[in-house]
């Protein structure tokens, strides 16, 4: 307590001393000193994160029931030393697809979380909390239970319906929260929470109608708990392309999000088409959510934690946060999924459940700490 009080007093003195600096010229800082002051270069951070992601993927791929040493994998890549037939088939048809899938899921959730937090002007928003994931889950369940035979590009009907479910839910939530041409963030968050909870719980009804109870139940349950599947390469490629499209279209929206932080009216005054921008953000955010849900089901909190920590470290500029959250999200989910599948080996823990155990306490910590940030 005492330390806290001291801290505040020091801050005040520092503030006062900058304020009282006499003369206009003394207040001027040269632009060059400003550029270097306190802002680590974005390209350096992104570069480091990219290397970290590669290393994480390499290590995660080597871990499992049959251990394939990192050195062996590295030798196979760099010197074309052949792997044994078992190692090859484990790596190429099971582990690599799964690790890539978790990286894609992590990146997609983190960017979607960043976009929704910016849109709702609230650091508590994430695709799971505002209902996008719930909508995607209902779409996916319809696909799993009724259209199991159907697929496009290795993508089941479940994945396509997940996107549809996510977009429709977000549109519904958004219009529920609208009154007189304005959208209140608190109402939006509450509406999202209510609709999301309704939808994700309604998925249990599909079990009753399931024509094929044994198999269906297990798949639906896996979706709801967030288990990252072992996808086909074709499906991964489509997911990757969609993620790339999503992130590229997110880029120009990030600067709009910075302007929207001044409030709708001010953003409008500055020439931002507020409604159009919001709809675009919802569309791109839903697409990203659907990519994640189609590969890994319902994973809570990942989209909350990553953008939040990135914002604490780098400040709130969304343009800078976009590449950082994408890479950090990928790293975070690759690690979490590797822990989830090895912690109680040979039994796998759904990564969604592990995430709930990490994310729940983090969410509560956010609630308690620094209440200033949550005023709307």
């Amino acid at each position: 307590m005492e330390a806290e009080v001291k801290g505040i007093a020091v801050v005040h003195q520092a503030a006062a001393s900058t304020e009282r600096r006499p003369g206009g010229s003394a207040r001027e800082q040269s632009p060059s000193s400003r550029e270097n002051g306190g802002k680590p270069g974005l390209s350096l951070i992104v570069g480091l994160l990219f290397v970290a992601l590669l290393i994480t993927i390499l290590i995660s791929v080597s871990i499992g029931a049959i251990h394939v040493p990192v050195g062996v994998i590295a030798a196979a890549i760099l010197r074309h030393n052949p792997l044994s037939e078992t190692q090859r088939s484990i790596l190429l048809s099971i582990r690599l697809p799964r690790v890539f899938a978790s990286a894609l899921v992590g990146a997609a959730l983190a960017i979607a979380g960043l976009m929704f937090q910016g849109l709702f002007r609230n650091p508590m928003a994430d695709p799971y909390i505002i209902g996008a994931s719930g909508g995607a889950a209902v779409g996916a369940c319809v696909g799993i239970v009724f259209l199991a035979e159907w697929s496009i590009f290795g993508y089941s009907a479940a994945a396509l319906l997940a996107f549809l479910g996510s977009v429709l839910t977000m549109a519904a939530v958004y219009y529920l929260a609208r009154a007189r041409g304005r959208t209140n963030s608190v109402t939006l968050l509450l509406a999202g929470f209510a609709v999301g909870t309704m939808l994700s719980n309604s998925t249990y009804i599909f079990e009753i109608f399931d024509p094929n109870p044994e198999v269906g139940h297990r798949i639906v349950a896996a979706w709801l708990h967030g288990v990252i599947s072992v996808p086909e390469w074709k499906q991964l490629a489509v997911a990757f392309v969609l993620l790339a499209v999503g992130s590229l279209s997110a880029y120009p929206l990030m600067r709009r999000l910075n302007t929207l932080a001044l409030g709708d009216e001010y953003a409008h005054q500055l020439g931002v088409r507020v409604e159009t921008t919001r709809i675009l953000i919802i569309l791109v955010g839903s697409l990203l959510t659907a990519i994640a849900v189609s590969l890994g089901g319902l994973i809570s909190f990942a989209g909350l934690i990553v953008p939040h920590v990135a914002r604490l470290l780098l400040g709130p500029d969304h343009v800078r946060l976009l590449p950082v959250t994408a890479l950090a999200g990928a790293i975070f989910l690759v690690i979490t999924d590797t822990v989830a599948r090895t912690l109680f080996a040979p039994t796998e823990l759904p990564v969604g459940i592990l995430m709930a155990f990490i994310g729940g306490p983090f969410f509560l910590y956010l609630l308690r700490k620094n209440k200033r940030e949550y005023t709307l």
């Binding site: 503030a15 900058t18 304020e19 600096r21 206009g24 003394a26 207040r27 001027e28 800082q29 632009p31 400003r34 002051g37 306190g38 002007r121 609230n122 650091p123 007189r180 120009p252 600067r255 910075n258 302007t259 932080a261 001044l262 409030g263 009216e265 001010y266 953003a267 409008h268 005054q269 500055l270 020439g271 931002v272 088409r273 914002r311 400040g315 709130p316 500029d317 200033r372 940030e373 005023t375 709307l376």
Partner: protein
């Protein structure tokens, strides 16, 4: 010459209550005018209508002879800036990051900040005297500091018409005088200014033109000497002559002039 702002018989109502009807106001390019009136009479609404963030329910608003609704958003936002009373920022943006947003009207979908945008931001920061605060977090500033940052944000937009909603609130008397000097400096640069201000003294001594909006929403315009008579002020603000130092003083001066 086409006035920069021309409002003719403008009426506005919020869904639950009417604000005013048939208000007319014209601003010639290069004027620096104050806008005075009692609380809740619709000063902020009028400024918003002028800025184009609200659409009038009746009547006509024209900026440089053009309706703001037919202008592109970009065109309008390069022409008018409104410095609001209240600015709530989500997340811990720094002062510099906030003032940079004032350049949004000049940026394209992929065109980022150029050298000239940087210069405009630096100039806005130094004119509003907040260069020293540029890396501070906006939400942690004092009321007076925030006020100056809001003005810098409006200046970064480099508007032809600058509307200010109570720009002197939260400022100490020294900063109030600096603000008035800044407004005059901007006027000399050819920027048209309309500022709603509650401090009658300040208006009296520092502005050459004033609009007074009475409780019946009627506008009286002219020099402060003609418009801000004790009787008119007492009437507009529903404050009897002997109850406020400002009015007592003014009455005293008037009566002494009468004696001579």
């Amino acid at each position: 010459m086409t006035p920069i702002l021309d409002m003719t018989n403008v009426g506005f109502r919020y869904p639950e209550r009417p604000v005013f009807e048939r208000v007319s106001l014209t601003l010639q390019e290069g004027n620096c005018t104050a806008f005075v009136g009692p609380n809740g009479v619709g000063k902020t609404t009028l400024l918003r209508l002028a800025a184009g963030t609200l659409k009038p329910t009746s009547g006509r608003v024209e900026l440089q002879g053009q309706s703001p609704t037919t202008m592109s958003l970009k065109q309008r936002s390069q022409l008018v800036a409104l410095v609001p009373q209240q600015l709530d920022i989500s997340f811990d943006f720094t002062v510099e990051q906030i003032v940079e947003q004032g350049r949004s009207p000049y940026l394209g979908l992929l065109r980022g900040m150029l050298h000239e945008d940087r210069r405009a931001v630096d100039r806005a920061l130094s004119l509003a005297d907040v260069s020293g605060l540029r890396s501070r977090i906006f939400n942690e500033l004092s009321g007076g500091e925030r006020q100056r940052v809001k003005i810098a944000l409006g200046l970064a937009q480099e508007p032809r018409l600058l509307l200010l909603d109570e720009p002197t609130q939260n400022l100490d008397i020294g900063r109030q005088v600096e603000l008035i000097d800044l407004l005059h400096f901007l006027r000399d640069e050819g920027i048209t200014i309309l500022a709603s201000i509650h401090d009658i003294h300040l208006v009296h001594h520092n502005f050459s033109f004033v609009h007074l909006m009475g409780p019946d929403h009627s506008l009286t315009s002219g020099t402060p000497k003609d418009v801000l008579t004790p009787e008119r002020i007492a009437n507009a603000f529903n404050c009897s002559l002997g109850r406020h130092p400002l009015l007592m003083e003014a009455t005293a001066i008037n009566s002494s002039q009468g004696l001579q």
